[in-house]
């Protein structure tokens, strides 16, 4: 055999053996890899929101976080802001008050291209932890008037994360709500039937109507306030719950206090001193909605 022939044969044999080994190994591992990818993606969602399952709303971008009673406990979304080295993949969890429950930033092995040792620190718990409990407006660097400490020598990456998270909240916060747990108002009910989509429900227990639950809204001091109200069969208010309100922290937001809501429920509403506009808005909204929806109880 000539040396040229020997070279060709050897190289072909080695290439065929290598390709065969790789092909076999690939077909053996590819289903496992696909499964771990799905598991990892789910684990990534669970890292940012405490939920039992996730309902995909926009493919690979937005999910409703579903709690133990099949109720929506928040949303999870993904954003890809431009960082220093490339796009930064971020997963953000929000609760129903649109406060952040957690953020997760993909590491270098998942495509993060920030500078090793500097920008990559955005993935560390020290930095990510700062976002928990914050609302959209607070997610800015301190020098931009927010509450987030930038990473030394990685300001661009830090700012990119803040901007991405904040823009994401503004973009996706409207999804997934106002969904609320109607059992807060009728704990005994075993079923709710929607009469008017997203506004009025019958509360049922073993086929009997316990009452109705409906949404009421009014103009608060800063923005619209949405309240859930329950009426029993005698048109008596059994529960009031604030669903959406963005009033002044510490003043207008006092409408969330249990005392204030309990007094409305008991028919003896009292305005909160210093938060007259916000509390009046709630009281009026409940009263008027109770009047107009009361006929559904006949």
């Amino acid at each position: 055999m000539t040396s040229t022939k020997k070279m060709i044969i050897t190289l072909v044999v080695v290439a065929v053996v290598c390709a065969t080994v790789l092909a076999l190994f690939y077909s053996f591992t590819v289903p496992l890899i696909a499964k771990t990818r799905v598991d990892l993606a789910l684990a990534g969602l669970k890292e940012v929101a405490e939920a039992d399952s996730f309902l995909e709303i926009i493919s690979d971008t937005l999910w409703n976080a579903i709690g133990p009673d099949e109720n929506v406990v928040g949303i999870v979304f993904r954003v890809w802001p431009q960082g220093y080295g490339g796009l930064i993949p971020i997963t953000v969890g929000l609760d129903n008050d649109r406060k952040i429950t957690g953020i997760r930033i993909a590491g270098a092995s998942e495509g993060l291209k920030e500078t090793p040792g500097l920008g990559v620190k955005i993935t560390e718990a020290d930095f990510r932890g700062q976002f928990i409990g914050k609302s959209a407006d607070e997610v800015r660097l301190k020098k931009d008037g927010g509450l987030i400490d930038a990473i030394t020598a990685a300001t661009i990456s830090s700012k990119a994360v803040c901007d991405g998270v904040r823009n994401g909240i503004e973009k996706y916060a409207q999804y997934g709500g106002p969904e609320f747990d109607k059992r807060n108002i009728f704990p005994d009910a075993d079923d709710f039937i929607a009469i008017i989509k997203d506004s009025l429900w019958y509360a049922l227990k073993a086929g009997d109507t316990l009452g109705i639950v409906f949404l009421a809204s009014g103009e608060g001091y800063l923005d619209r306030i949405v309240v859930a109200v329950g009426l029993d069969r005698n048109k008596k208010i059994v529960g009031v719950d604030i669903l959406m309100s963005q009033e002044t922290a510490g003043i207008g937001e006092l409408i969330r206090e249990k005392d204030f809501l309990a007094k409305i429920r008991d028919g003896k509403p009292e305005t909160i001193s210093g938060a007259t506009v916000s509390s009046e808005a709630v009281i009026t909204a409940v009263k008027e909605a109770a009047k107009s929806y009361g006929e559904y109880l006949k």
Binding site: V14, L22, F25, I33, T115, T152
Partner: protein, 199 residues
């Protein structure tokens, strides 16, 4: 040269990075922190060991003219196997090391050992050589990573060691590529003076 020497010379006397001066590219890129350095070292050691064994096994069957393409085929097959196996069975480890695995293909330590040693020696010696060189590479990366991580970030394996005031103003350039050049140069000078006694 006995077997013990074959195994140990990769650690100091023929350390791949600091004496032979090969594999500098991954040594610069992955020694910013101790964890990264250790991960790269471990993955490279695995591939180095198996490629040395296989290449030594087929050394008499491969014509000299085409030995390099054959080595590269074998090495890249192993690297791909490591990549798939990690993704399938150790996804957590892959999250940490995944980025380094494809880099091993171009790690010239592996091709260097295949050419300089495994293709001329018995399977057992080639295995010992691969293991020793791999350990030497790993230790070097861990030492460089330790120095760079402590000075550049004030931490060791992510735990703060120099206090929070240092962490506020670390020697940032140590974790950037120039820091790696500086540390490697100092370590090389020390090896030359105290181990090889050339100066």
């Amino acid at each position: 040269m006995n077997r013990w020497q074959i195994f140990t010379r990769g650690i100091i006397s023929e350390n791949p990075v600091l004496v032979i001066m090969i594999g500098l590219c991954p040594a610069l890129a992955t020694s910013g922190t101790v964890r990264d350095g250790f991960g790269m070292g471990l993955a490279a050691t695995f591939v180095l060991f198996f490629s040395n064994v296989i290449i030594s096994m087929i050394r008499k069957l491969v014509p000299a003219e085409i030995r390099i393409p054959v080595y590269i085929l074998i090495i890249s097959t192993f690297v791909t196997i490591v990549d798939y196996a990690m993704q399938a069975f150790q996804p957590d480890l892959y999250r940490v090391l995944g980025v380094f695995v494809p880099l091993i293909v171009v790690n010239c330590i592996i091709l260097g050992r295949a050419e300089a040693f495994a293709s001329k020696n018995s399977v057992l010696n080639a295995a010992l050589d691969g293991l020793g060189m791999g350990i030497g590479f790993t230790l070097t990366l861990v030492v460089i990573g330790t120095i760079r991580e402590i000075l550049g970030n004030g931490t060791f394996l992510g735990y703060s060691v120099l206090g929070s005031s240092f962490k506020q103003y670390p020697v940032t350039f140590m974790i950037l590529p120039p820091g790696a050049f500086l540390v490697i140069a100092v370590l090389k000078a020390m090896i030359n003076k105290y181990v090889r006694k050339e100066i």
